[in-house]
């Protein structure tokens, strides 16, 4: 075999192996997705949205308690996390762009985005659950807020930096004070990007389970008091899926399906915002 033939042969082998591994990897992921859709759709019914948790064996259990709990936990987390993240990101991009402090904050936020979320749960347990003496919705929301802040901070920072400095200069030239320039010009210019960051941040914390296990804990019934343990879709999914009861497992799949669809829609929406923005330029 000549050298060239050998090279072509090796090339073909590598190409086949790469394609094969892509097919295997994507095949597994499709398997998971199809299991999720099939089981989820199968378990989905109106009673899931109207009924609360029920003891096993009782066929009319629902997920109303977990859906509302999840909504409250994530909404409160967004209520705290979005303004804090956006304002901190504003500092990085508008005031301390290249300062040592900003660089350190960027680095630490990048690391926190990949840090184990269960550790945040342990931290919140120590500062909230333990002093209060019981699990609570607040504790869960605080844990989610801590996870959300670095994500929103970094996207805001990046997106504000994309706003052309000539826009800022034009506004300054008209005599606008800096805060007005930021709020009326920079934020407006980066609207789509900031919104994308918020959507991705919300999507990320909506799927978090580990930090909720020992902060908001769980409740099989509807509770709208943030001072009490609160159900979430994720923890409910975990408890139901690991239970030996088939009707609970079905509810677990329904929860998994609803949650995934919610998270995927947020992600797709976020991408569309960015695409639209890019299209304009």
């Amino acid at each position: 075999m000549t050298h060239t033939q050998k090279r072509i042969l090796v090339n073909n082998i590598v190409m086949v192996l790469s394609t094969l591994s892509a097919v295997i990897g994507i095949g597994f992921l499709l398997w998971i997705l199809s299991v999720l859709v099939i089981n989820g759709l199968d378990a989905l019914s109106m009673t899931i949205f109207t009924n609360e948790g029920a003891p096993p064996g009782n066929d009319n259990g629902g997920l109303k308690h977990a859906l509302i709990g999840q909504l409250m936990l994530v909404s409160y987390a967004a209520l705290f996390g979005v303004p804090l993240g956006v304002l901190a990101g504003t500092y990085l991009s508008e005031y301390g762009l290249k300062s040592k402090l900003s660089e350190t904050i960027r680095d630490i936020s990048d690391i926190m985005m990949s840090a184990p979320s269960i550790v945040i749960g342990a931290f919140v347990y120590a500062i909230v659950v333990s002093p209060m003496g019981h699990f609570s919705g607040w504790a869960g929301s605080i844990a989610l807020t801590i996870i959300m802040i670095p994500i929103i901070l970094r996207t805001t920072d990046d997106m504000l930096q994309l706003v052309p400095s000539t826009l800022r200069e034009a506004a300054f030239a008209l005599g606008a004070p800096k805060y007005k320039v930021i709020i009326q010009i920079v934020y407006r210019g980066a609207k789509a990007g900031i919104l994308t960051g918020i959507l991705l941040g919300v999507a990320r914390v909506a799927g978090e389970t580990a930090p909720l296990l020992f902060t908001s804990f769980n409740d099989n019934f509807l509770n709208m008091n943030m001072n009490q343990p609160m159900a979430s879709l994720t923890v409910t999914m975990y408890n139901y899926a690991t239970s030996p009861y088939e009707d609970w497992q079905r509810l677990g799949w329904a929860a998994a399906f609803i949650l995934s669809m919610f998270i995927l829609s947020l992600n797709i929406l976020g991408r569309l915002f960015l695409l639209k923005k890019r299209g304009k330029h």
Binding site: R7, N11, V14, M15, S18, T19, S21, A22, I24, G25, I26, F28, W31, I32, V35, L84, L87, A88, Y91, L92, E94, G96, I105, D107, I108, D110, I111, M112, M113, S114, A115, P116, I118, V119, G121, A122, F123, A126, I127, I149, P150, R154, P177, K178, Y179, I182, G207, T209, A210, L213, T234, M237, Y238, A241, A256, S260, I263, L264, N267, I268
Partner: protein, 285 residues
């Protein structure tokens, strides 16, 4: 008037930004404070002792550390070749029409919460492991495999991004010299994007080691070191997830906090190495 508002706005943003640093420092401090009892009681034996027995208040974390190391290692050796394959496929092989949809689907899969991977593993993968290897199917091996599938989309996406940083002109020059795709990959793309590729693997490793929900379903939380990977085992996050809400003594809590601190330090270190040594800051993932 507006200069006062200006100052207030500037200082508020600065305060909050600085607060992020304080928060991280606070997390370390709180975890450390709560670990003191365990550190004082067990000292260094905490990470060398193999016995984790809450009933006699004896806590040795070696089985959990061992489980974290082995399951993550398994996940990495399974995921790395497939991730490279997918990345090569997406950056060099796939037709342009296929590149975007497949690439986007992989990025979207990275957004699926890990609890769903764990649930799938429990219902669909555990029976397969049980049939093939015997035992109960809940094992270190199952955990490693589920973990590898969970980190695959993330790893493939960042590896592809790293490979895509290679300037087209370099690739085209190599093709013009008669290089095959593989020649271009091994002699142009990999040397050019080496740091980025290694960085993405290490970043995925940092995520895998702290991953909780994907493995909690299928690992078993058994504090025993076994060389047989088809036996149930535990890892640091699995121990935390299973035992935190149930701990009943202050030394038990303290040991769990020490475990959390240990996990945080390990992941912080791994992620820092990936970010600062291999991947100088680019856009966020």
């Amino acid at each position: 008037m507006s200069s006062i508002v200006d100052k207030i706005f500037a200082n508020t943003t600065k305060l909050i930004a600085f607060g992020v640093l304080l928060l991280v420092a606070w997390i370390f401090t709180v975890l450390f404070e709560h670990s003191i009892e365990s550190i004082k009681t067990f000292g260094f034996t905490f990470i060398t002792d193999t016995k984790w027995a809450p009933n006699i208040e004896k806590f040795g974390a070696l089985p959990a550390i061992y489980g974290s190391v082995v399951s993550t290692f398994l996940a990495m050796i399974l995921a790395v070749p497939v991730a490279i394959g997918i990345a090569i496929f997406l950056s060099e092989i796939a037709h342009a029409k296929l590149k975007t949809p497949v690439g986007i689907s992989i990025e979207l899969l990275a957004a699926i919460p890990s609890v769903i991977y764990g649930m799938w593993g429990l219902f669909y993968f555990v029976p397969i492991i049980r049939d093939v290897f015997g035992g109960i199917g809940i094992s270190m091996l199952t955990a490693g495999i589920i973990l590898s599938i969970m980190i695959l989309p993330f790893m493939a996406a960042v590896t592809r991004d790293a490979m895509n940083t290679t300037p087209d002109i370099l690739k085209e020059s190599a093709y013009a010299l008669g290089g095959t795709k593989w020649d271009v990959i091994k002699d142009v793309i990999i040397p050019y994007a080496k740091a980025g590729i290694i960085g993405s693997f290490i970043l995925a490793l940092g995520r895998a080691i702290g991953e909780t929900m994907a493995v909690t379903f299928v690992m078993g939380n058994v504090h025993k070191i076994s060389t047989d990977i088809t036996e149930p085992a535990t890892s640091i996050p699995v121990t935390l997830a299973n035992e935190f809400a149930e701990a009943d003594s202050s030394i038990y809590y303290s040991s769990l906090f020490e475990l959390s601190l240990f996990l945080l330090i390990i992941s912080f270190t791994i992620i820092s190495v990936a970010k600062f040594y291999f991947l100088r800051r680019k856009r966020i993932a």
